[in-house]
Amino acid sequence: MSMFDGFKFRSVSSTIHKMDPRAKFIYVCVLFCVAVMFSQLIPLLILFIVQTPLIFIARVQKEWLRSMKGSAMFAIVIFLMNILSLYFYGSYESLSVIVERALALTLRFMVLIESFSVFFLTTSPDLLGLALEQSRVPYELCFAFTTAVRFVPVLAEEAQTIMDAQKARGLELEGGNFVKKIRNYIPILIPLIVNAIRRSLELAETMESRAWGATQNRTNLYVLKMGRKDLYLVLFSFAILAVSVYVITYIQIPNVTHLLRI
């Protein structure tokens, strides 16, 4: 679960937290494109390092470190798989070039994790929901999103209560073979699902009673306005995109191996 810690919103007061989610999202998308564009070590290393100051400005170092540690497992798998596939299926090059390639592709994975992680760590679900609304995503979807986030802790607590209730009737959740384990979770899943359905019915009643669907032009108590910092971020992102396109078209990026003459 530690990899997912890096994607849970952490409420802290920082510049990045206050920024418009739409600007941050554009930044993340650009980073995604650029990361996918390059498969050489040097540019990906630059991308990885460029993001680190943001993590410190956002004051989410601890969570980010946890997500890095958590994704280390995946990173190692990706590294080994790339080494093997490059060795067997790539054109033959020296071992050091293969290692560098594999390292670069692993780093690409880390860059993506890093950028999405910073996004989710610094964007509160309500701001995210608001951003979705203002980006003309259909209201039903935005509502489904924020309601889901709102009820996650409630459902988690309910799951715990259900487990307690069934344990108190002698249900053993630990031990036993795989099949038995799955069977043991039925007395947990069924009440959870049934209660979730009952809850949605009550929510629907409340929504209807508060004039849901009265008009297509739904208004909002809050409004997101892009500030100067957000505009700078967007411009900066497009600058990165432009530079990357230039580099990849006109510049031959050397391998570190060749530079170090291994």
Binding site: E158, T161, I162, D164, A165, Q166, K167, A168, R169, G170, L171, E172, I186, P187, I190, P191, V194, N195, R198
Partner: protein
């Protein structure tokens, strides 16, 4: 017998729920644990069947120390009926639901049948034997949950907020049912904030506030003490409120029962005539 000694408990989120609780419950007692929401009542009773283990102090149920045995072992002795029956019900028929715990505890088929029959009859559910529990009304589902917990005949029965959402008649039936369980020799512990219900049942009352027990004793003594009651953020029973207001007329204040109140008043009125 249940012995709770100097129990401290803090939830993972840092909330200190119990700060030094001492309680002894004898076999066959009828106990009501009362207090405001958040006082620690449910946290305390979850220590009795081992769902929660104390961070400091010990909980011993019939010579079993709760930190040393599994919840399933303790559950054999301690039946715990949760507040919301829908957190337990999952089977296709009432019969299966009631036999769930029995199978978990390893009863053989013949014993399961016998116990299920007994439990269904006790709770007036025989006619719903083959019915899906999800098709039943709220009150009936509560009875199914009760039946499924009583099926294995635990000697201690804990009911967590059994009166929530119940109408007057359902509460009266519950009160009589609890007396029946008590007469069968079971130790009954209810967690509740329903003053009038406790005033009618007259159990031994344990009053909690902010993770501590602030008083325990007979219902007539505890529920009629205005200072204790306000400390625990609970209210006085209506009859007691009346007699506290009439204190200056020379009436006793430790009255919680409406019939007793009527007698006292009738005496006084006929005296003054």
């Amino acid at each position: 017998m249940i012995k709770i000694e100097d129990v401290h408990f803090t939830y993972p989120n840092g909330v200190e729920a119990l700060s030094g609780v001492n309680l002894e419950v004898q076999d066959g007692e009828f106990l009501a644990i009362m207090g405001q929401n958040g006082a620690g009542k449910t946290t305390l009773v979850k220590h009795i069947n081992g769902l929660l283990k104390p961070i400091r102090g010990t909980v011993v149920v019939d010579d079993l120390e709760t930190t040393k045995v599994s919840v399933a072992t303790l559950a054999r002795k301690v039946g715990f009926v949760f507040q919301n029956p829908d957190h337990q019900l999952f089977s296709e028929t009432v019969e299966e639901e009631v036999s769930f715990a029995l199978r978990n505890f390893g009863f053989n088929e013949a014993a399961v049948n016998e116990r299920v029959n007994w439990a269904l009859n006790l709770l007036d559910l025989a006619e719903y034997r083959k019915v899906s529990p999800f098709m039943l009304s709220g009150g009936e589902r509560k009875r199914v949950a009760l039946a499924s917990v009583l099926a294995w005949d635990p000697k201690i029965v804990i009911l967590d907020e059994p009166t929530i959402g119940q109408d007057n008649q359902q509460k009266e039936r519950l009160r009589q049912f609890i007396l029946q369980l008590n007469n069968l020799g079971k130790t009954v512990i209810i967690v509740t904030h329903d003053i009038e219900f406790v005033a009618e049942c007259k159990p031994r009352v344990v009053l909690m506030s902010q993770g501590k027990i602030i008083a325990q004793g007979a219902a007539e003594k505890i529920l009629t003490d205005p200072d204790l009651v306000s400390q625990a953020s609970v209210v006085l029973p209506q009859i007691t409120q009346l007699f506290v207001s009439l204190r200056n007329e020379g009436f006793p204040t430790e009255v919680i029962d409406v019939n007793e109140a009527a007698e006292i008043l009738l005496e006084r009125i006929s005296d003054s005539r």
